[in-house]
């Protein structure tokens, strides 16, 4: 093996040493030194890739945005558009001060955008979740009371009478909690109900995307998401669910 071939293999993976590369390095100090440089560079590369992901995440809940949206139709995709700011100036300044200023600026921008953005991440995640369970829509037979109770109990909620036949019930992992995911039959067609005890919205808001129409409503504890594929009027089922919803002792 010559130097060029050895360096190409080393450049592709400095940590691996096929036998032919090892044999070459034993007799070539320049390539051995080259490998040392590459490994040093790779350590920096690894560190560079290990960015802090927290600033890149949306706020923990969509509540601020949802709170700002009052009974209006919004599109929920794309979501991250518009989170731009100007590049910071390059004036010399203490690093901690630059970082603090940057952090404060970031918080200000984030809060402003959370309050003003028209695309609630919560609604988007509800749609994504429901799209992941397409079979839920095809259920037609009412589920047993025991099954429903098991699903609701897991989330610490209960439902009284009056919301219509429930044909699907699952306890789903959503935003860090198990939440009841139900499908209720209404005269106008099936609607999905997700009881989101840990997600707070200030006022009711509607959304529409990918053939779904939906509604997020504040509940005594958390909120309720209602979703339909056939643009079924959602106010009545939402009202029924909210009246039937009880906290479980």
């Amino acid at each position: 093996m010559n130097c060029a071939a050895a360096r190409e293999l080393l450049g592709a993976d400095p940590d691996s040493m096929p036998p032919e590369v090892r044999a070459h390095l034993e007799s070539c100090s320049e390539c051995e030194a080259y490998r040392g440089q590459l490994r040093g560079f790779d350590a920096k590369l690894r560190r560079a890739l290990e960015i802090d992901p927290n600033p890149l995440r949306r706020a923990p809940a969509a509540s601020a945005a949802d709170e700002g949206a009052s009974a209006q139709v919004v599109r929920i995709w794309p979501r991250a558009a518009g989170r731009h700011d100007t590049r910071p100036t390059s004036h010399p300044r203490p690093r901690w001060l630059a970082f603090a200023a940057s952090l404060a600026g970031g918080l200000l921008v984030s809060v402003t955008l959370w309050l003003s953005r028209p695309s609630p991440a919560l609604a988007a995640e509800v749609v994504t979740h429901v799209e992941g369970e397409p079979n839920s829509w095809s259920a037609t037979q009412p589920i047993s009371a025991a099954r429903l109770d098991a699903v609701l109990r897991k989330s610490g909620v209960a439902l009284g009478a009056g919301i219509g036949p429930i044909v699907y019930a699952n306890s789903c992992w959503f935003r860090g909690h198990f939440v009841p995911h139900l499908v209720v039959t209404t005269p106008a067609g099936p609607v999905t109900v997700m009881i989101l005890k840990h997600e707070h919205v200030r006022s009711a808001s509607h959304f529409a995307e990918d053939g779904y129409s939906g509604m997020l409503s504040p509940a005594p504890e958390g909120s309720v998401a209602i979703l339909s594929r056939a643009h079924v009027p959602l106010e009545r089922p939402a009202s029924s669910v909210l009246h039937a919803l009880r906290a479980r002792a």
Partner: protein, 181 residues
């Protein structure tokens, strides 16, 4: 993610384990997409898919690579579905959230991050899979549907491009060129 409706300690433990990989997934997805919004969508979908497919997870020590593989495929799916517009690296670097994520005490690391961001996808993706994901060359080849030789070439070129930019930036004390190579 669905569950049978009964609290299973093993499942709850797995849920916590999956959740603990969220930062890793976010980092990984960001480098693949260069867009925080898309990255978070990928992370969310990855965790959902992982939860649904949890029965297939036989080796608990392989959770991380399993999740990263799902995330990589989800990234490819998202790209296919949404056909995102070309990422403007300068705009991306100017974002407040990216600036915060890229902040490092060592300015050279920040410069290197900018250079990685500017790498074309064909070089950046295998590099991220290898260095951040810990995948072998063979695994990357299988994942990207390439020959091992092609992956080796891309990895070699990726490092060369970064080293060139990094050397230039270090020599001039300026940030590397962040656009196309």
């Amino acid at each position: 993610m669905t569950d049978s409706g009964r609290g299973d300690p093993a499942e709850e433990r797995l849920a916590r384990v999956l959740e603990s990989y969220r930062p890793d997934l976010m980092r990984f997805a960001f480098w693949l997409t260069r867009d925080p919004g898309s990255a978070e969508d990928i992370v969310q979908e990855t965790l959902l898919r992982a939860w649904r497919a949890r029965a297939a997870l036989r080796d608990s020590t392989a959770v991380r690579s399993w999740l990263l593989t799902i995330a990589r495929r989800e990234s490819a799916r998202l790209h296919e579905r949404k056909r995102p517009q070309t990422v403007d690296v300068d705009e991306c670097l100017a974002r407040q959230d990216v600036e915060l994520a890229f902040h490092d005490e060592d300015p050279e690391i920040g410069e290197l991050r900018g250079a990685i961001l500017g790498l074309p996808n064909e070089y950046r993706e295998p590099l991220v899979l290898q260095v951040l994901g810990g995948f072998t060359t063979g695994e990357i080849a299988a994942e990207l549907n390439l020959s091992v030789a092609a992956v080796l070439t891309r990895l070699f070129r990726a490092r060369n491009k970064l080293r060139e930019r990094y050397a230039t930036a270090s020599a001039t004390g300026s940030a590397p060129v962040a656009g196309a190579p």
